[in-house]
């Protein structure tokens, strides 16, 4: 019997609407490198959600690629990007930012988030010319541990960015889940007002592949496609990416899928809380981080797929992820098994 999947949000090919459109468009011919009409349509649909902001939109294939190209565009050789220590670029991208010549200056993380005062202090210390000059700020929305920046928090970072003339870049691999989080007071339109650039991830939100980079700041727009080409990030068949976003941004599909992810995750979270399960982070998005005794983890692994987040001698934190395809009945089954085990 196949195990029930709570492992991640990129284990299925794509949602049915996209599969259908792949088939539908498979009889046509399209111009290459993202200059086709499907991509153009997709860009226009996304812009609607951004309040018709004066922005450039580029479709890239994956998150590490999107992060590296953008940070490479933002920084001169002596400039650095600030990130919390747990930022994806600082841990799990195998030195991608450094590979194109840039240093990440680490800041402490607070439930996955960056503190504006600590950013401010970092900039002041780095005025010394034997150090890198802080020019970029990298944050994730949602963060690696499922938390989100609300409007007040994002504006506070923006203020420090304005003070020190920094670019604010938001990794949005899980932007959908963040935007649809309970009590979230930010919209994509707000993101386009506050950040200099950010991306809207499809890979983890029902698409087959794709990250849509939104560039709001005019300084970052020139020659971006050249830089993508240089990084191997300008897909020849760009229209495949166009199909993803054209589909997802039709009839709010992107947001409906994200809402489903979150609803399933909150259902699981509330269920676990009722059972007295400890949660390592107060995640409001589609990832949940329960802590179990090690033998319970072993038992659960027989029936469910999930990742180990932080192993310990007695207790282990694991990660359950809900996707657009997660079924309520599978969560019921999981909660029931947890109930029986603890």
């Amino acid at each position: 019997m196949e195990k029930i999947y709570f492992r991640n949000d990129y284990s299925e090919i794509a949602c049915p609407e996209i599969i259908e459109n792949i088939q539908k468009y498979s009889r046509g011919h399209y111009v290459g490198y993202g200059e086709d009409e499907i991509c153009e349509s997709a860009r226009n649909k996304i812009k609607k959600y951004l309040g018709d902001a004066d922005c450039d939109i580029h479709f890239l294939v994956g998150g590490t690629q999107a992060n590296t190209v953008m940070i490479d565009a933002m920084l001169k050789p002596w400039e650095a990007v600030a990130s919390v220590v747990s930022g994806h670029i600082n841990v799990h991208e195998a030195g991608s930012i450094e590979s194109v010549g840039h240093r990440i200056e680490p800041l402490p993380e607070h439930d996955g988030k960056m503190d504006p005062d600590e950013l401010d202090k970092l900039c002041v210390v780095h005025e010394f010319e034997h150090m890198t000059d802080i020019k970029g700020v990298y944050i994730s929305q949602a963060t690696e541990v499922g938390t989100v920046y609300n409007k007040r928090e994002l504006l506070a970072l923006r203020e420090v960015c304005d003070k020190h003339n920094l670019y604010l870049f938001v990794d949005g691999a899980r932007m959908g889940s963040a935007m649809m989080a309970d009590g979230m007071d930010l919209t994509l339109r707000d993101m386009a007002r506050i950040a200099d650039c950010f991306y809207i991830g499809a890979t983890k939100n029902g698409g087959m592949i794709g990250e849509a980079m939104v560039i709001v700041n005019d300084e970052l727009k020139p020659c971006y496609r050249r830089l993508m080409k240089q990084h191997g990030a300008l897909l020849a068949k760009g229209f495949i990416l166009g199909i993803q976003y054209d589909t997802l941004f039709t009839d709010d599909l992107f947001f409906r899928l994200a809402r489903h992810e979150n609803e399933m995750a909150m259902y699981l979270k509330e269920g676990m809380k009722k059972l007295g399960v400890k949660l390592l982070f107060d995640s409001v998005t589609n990832q949940q981080f329960p802590v179990f005794e090690n033998d319970i983890v072993e038992k659960l692994a027989e029936k469910y797929q999930f990742e180990v987040w932080e192993p310990g001698d007695k207790e282990t934190t694991i990660r359950f992820v809900c996707s657009w395809a997660t079924k309520k009945e599978d969560i019921d089954s999981l909660l029931n098994d947890i109930h029986n085990l603890i």
Copy 2:
């Protein structure tokens, strides 16, 4: 009316067999990053065609990416890769190789191909320690202008590589068309015996996306996946690439599509030759480079999509590309129009 497409070989989503399999697999869950069972199956099928060579196979998304990651793996900081001046990495990848720190040492091109003696001399000159040390050789099979290296030519390069301890890397974005060229005496099995590493392109041979990197030389195998990750080239949904190759390497589909491309291109070539059309290169693969007077080019452009290769004051070389989807009737129409125009 839509124009008839001879523009390139990557203007369709994918061949029907792949579209079908995308749909078929769309209900499953798969492990990420190319460690799933579909990728494993695809790798095994490819290995059969390589004479079960002791090689590693990795699936990447595009050609520029594949070239950059491989050359980055091959070279130490002070080492360079030799390429003919018209090599794709030397012209049309926006400085990708240099962006990761490596110099391309250019050699003259002869119908798109590298001369072994010139390579040999380059290595000798570069023994001077104020120059880069030649360590890699980059060639394309087929070349940018549709020609191919036969067995004797490839072995002659291998000999120089052995003499100077160089890695021989073959860009195989159009490997299918090269392998199926009329009179070709090389097989994939030979490629795996002669080259240190090469790739087998799906993007331009009926696949949706994908380049399968084959690493034969043990020195180049360690940590390749880390390097892919660093370059943003380790696709989260690796299984999508697996589906491409698992399909293409079932029932010789890859080779049947390539043969069709070539047959169409040869039919077009012979037709043009009969009409007295000058061809800039004696291409034996799916790209053809006829030379027309400028007003004829303009007329043709009203009905057909193609690229301008080399513009001139009076005459212009254009490029017709045949793909797995090219229809004989469209070539008949094209030949007929050429006949009427000249």
Copy 3:
């Protein structure tokens, strides 16, 4: 009146013996790029102190340069170097290591030193292929805060390096002062047995310029001069560097100067301790880090040159550095002033 200099150990041109030899050699002609007879003589003299180890010795101009070239030689693109957070490369080289594509993986510092167990754990965590692969270890002897690794400590790091197949690289900008520290049980000969590569700094030890890189591990020897050339680190007039080392390694001059530095520093340290001055670190080398109330620091600054190490609201740590040229009478004056101020 000129202030008395405790600011650093590189504020004078050079010790008299070197000035004299500059003049002496100024009438000759020499081959370029370090292939002259003076460099050869210098290398042979240094090798004597290394127990005639089978090593390569190269003369570079400065510390940042020496660190960058060596770490670039050690690492493949996906590999990283471990350093304590306070390591010079991690703080005060303006992103030099990252500028050539490599990530520094930071470890906690313990009085400026690296803990072998923490290094071991870092390597284990980094076995995950989405992270860099730890391959190099960077430490400083003496450290940034004047402490030293003794033989037991260095061998403990070596053991972890052997376990994980890492290169151990020692920044020796202040190697002289470290070797001559009270109670030090390591010699240069030991350094050449335990480390894979290290350098012996002249800039801060009486020389005009120069860092002598000693490469013991055969894997790191090939093409090092090419890499130096690439980094702009192969001085055309290499013989100027040769003169530094040929002079310093004649009649133990290098060690006599270092001993003087240390004697002066210990005289100052003991003097301050007697006066009840708090010292931030228990430095056994030529740098001392006293903590004073802010108004005392201001008073001292009127007569003495020194650097502020760590400013605070009430108290400030400052740095006094003794050099080969420091005079006992100046320390007496300083101690006397401190006595009067506190």
Copy 4:
């Protein structure tokens, strides 16, 4: 007996005035990193020769370093620098420019010089976004083969630079000899009006070490010292470089030394021409490139030091270089020997 030196212009430590000043300043203490009063004085003296241009001046150690730092400052990741194929950065710096991520786009050379029309065309071709964007131009004054750009030629390049918004950077390792060339109609003051940045080399013009980078264009000024630090090019004992330039730019010493070099070279050139010796280039500066039969080259090598420029089966081009220290009597001896041999 020591051979007579025509090998290069960097085989002596330094001219007597500098040796003297090294001694004179050896009893003082100076602030580090080029912020001392000697450097300040030197910068002011140089600025006088630049018509008090509003420029920044930085002292670097060597030519490869100066080239790499400047080109790194000029270019964004997707931008390239144009150079003639024989440019020093394109041949003899072991891939330094590429090592920091930038591509050199080669142009044909005409007696070592760049043709403005060819530069113009290169820029147009590179408007295609799959290629690098040309942003910098690198030329040498004097060129590698001893020729110089006169005012008309330099202005013609400037015009193309203005048309395409390029930075014009001049490698001035032999700027002294170029400025003092017979019939030269350019001054340093003109250089500062026409170029965006250039350097004035001391290493090959009587100094011990040093290249003085002059930055005229405001866009290139910010954070240059940080970039120097990152490249290991910010010398701790910057005052040693200051002494070079403070001495050389006192009483026109720099220009007097250059004039001597040139006078010696012209004396040698005219002598060889009278003897019917073929010269490969019509060099007006301190390098001369005579062509001799191979057995004559062998004979000359017994008594004189020189470099082989271009070996051949029968004839070989060699290089004679005159320096500030070259004596007329040695040239008489050389001419006499040539006379006897041919």
